[in-house]
Amino acid sequence: MGNRIYNILFHTHTVSGIVISVALYVIFFTGSFSFFRDEIANWQRGHSVSQEDALPSSMDGHLNDLSKEYNLYGRDVELRHYYNERSISVNLGASKDSLASEEEKTPVFFYLDPEAKTKTNNYASNYHLGEFLYRLHFLDQIPYPYGRYLAGLVAFFFLFAIITGILVHWNKIVSNFYVFRPWAKIKAMWTDAHTALGVIGFPFQFVYAVTGAFFLLKGILMLPLVAGLYDGDQNQLFEDLEYNHPVYEFQNEKLDQTINLDQYIAEMKEEWGDFRVTETHIFNYGDQNMHAAISGYLGYDTKLNGLGYRIYKIADGSIEQEKVPITQTSYLDGVKNMMFRLHFGDYAGYGLRVISFILGLVSCFVILSGIMIWLVARDKKNIPEKRRKFNQQVANWYMAICLALLPVTALEFIIVKFAPTVNMGFLYQTYFPIWLVASVFFILKKDIAFTNKWTLISGGILGLLVPIANGITTGNWMWIAYQNGYQHILLVDLLWLVLGIASLWIAIFKLRTERAELTPTKG
């Protein structure tokens, strides 16, 4: 690679990296926790989830309960399991019966907790810390669509930054892989850490950049496709990509037959083995033309892309339409499913998610070391004093905002354990102001070494307090959670225990850098 190309790639890598750094750090830090979104939800509520990745217990039982409270006749009834939380989501469509009352003609949505038999009527009150961190991970707290598009562009520029980054480092990948000079000049240390961890994390980061860009920027991709290929007919695109439910006409004739979903599900499990039902959608409940669509997938141990469904006509129990999960998966289904599986890392048990969590935090470190390289590389005698002060301030702000996330997040885990009710408003009103105050405090200290040391120490101590807060408030101490098999609760406690110890260990034993090296040199 010639000098010209090398320097251009280097410069574009620097500029794109420094522009997205803070947003990207937030995305990676909260994204790492989002691997355990559902575990955090259950930890916060003290729930243990008996059946994972599938709708729990008897469908007929749920329908029976629902019919006591709602007149289901003529409605579309959908029960869905999406997250591994105790609640499932219930969607009741508007009744198509012309004689139905106004109330029956309004669609209803709520979360149903089948164990406690309670309902949560809206999204905001079903909100929890896992959801908050998951949403922050694509900046969704900034109003739609700005936050998501911003996060999408950050993901895309991140893709650009890692491609230019790996190209800049290309000739030295092998020779520098084992180079680590912690006692050399500080610039060399940051560079070694940045490049070594950057190379190790590259495949991981590449997958997350591409899938993340797709999730958030699919609009700008699909818009021209719809306009050009489909002449503006978006519905046809959804049809081709198999996103649409079929439509069954309402016949307005009552069906004298009880629905027996559990029997159908048992039938499907018999034929398809390890099949997990995640959604049941009933069309025209109680009508002659009532149909039940039962969809799900095979457990990942059995098959990675085993998506399937079956639609029964209730009147005669015949199979109207089906996709068999145990046969060859179509390319379409494979890609659609893998984009999510690769991003969520949820197809290989806890091991994969723990590794992904660690690689996510490693990426955070790569981002921070990048900021530090940017700073120390510009701390030269030939650069005007004013300019150097400005650079120092930029890095100071960046580091304060990013590093404050660790203690703030740990503190939030403790707060939710002591708060009487935790909902969307509560999380917004605690997390953001605390983050602001912590950031401002560290910004005003104007000392990056101080910020680094004390965010690690406070984050470490608060992290260790998380399992204790959980034990005090719920009695689910780690050993009790272990004995009772409360995996989710134990996992979050352990996560903070290890994070806390690691943070303190780094802060106390590993931060031997002289503070003078982090402040601008005089002259």
């Binding site: 230019t164 021209p224 050009g228 990509l241 379409l332 510009r378």
Partner: protein
């Protein structure tokens, strides 16, 4: 050591041309490429592939745009490529209309 300035683009208009060609031109070519393919081949397979390949291609074109000597020439090349791909798409869409 920050990148050596002597290799970087100094003028504003050149920088502007390269940045816009990288982001907008690159996107245009990436999308037209997939539309041209989709109009002639299995469109469902091409569209679902584009969910990842379009973003990778866009990013690669973005890198290439900065390597050119003249930003306006890069724009010219990306516009020409888009035009050629559009013609391919146009005839493909006429031959195998989807709607």
């Amino acid at each position: 050591m920050p990148a050596n300035k002597k290799y970087l683009t100094p003028s504003f208009s050149q920088r502007f041309a390269k940045i816009t060609a990288a982001i907008l031109g690159g996107l245009m070519v990436a999308i037209m490429f997939h539309m041209a393919l989709a109009s002639w081949f299995n469109h469902v397979a091409v569209i679902i592939t584009s969910t990842f390949s379009a973003f990778i291609l866009w990013a690669v074109l973005m890198v290439l745009a900065f390597l050119g000597k003249n930003g306006w020439k890069v724009w010219g090349m990306y516009l020409l490529a888009s035009l050629v791909l559009f013609v391919i798409f146009y005839f493909g869409n006429q031959t195998n209309p989807l709607v």
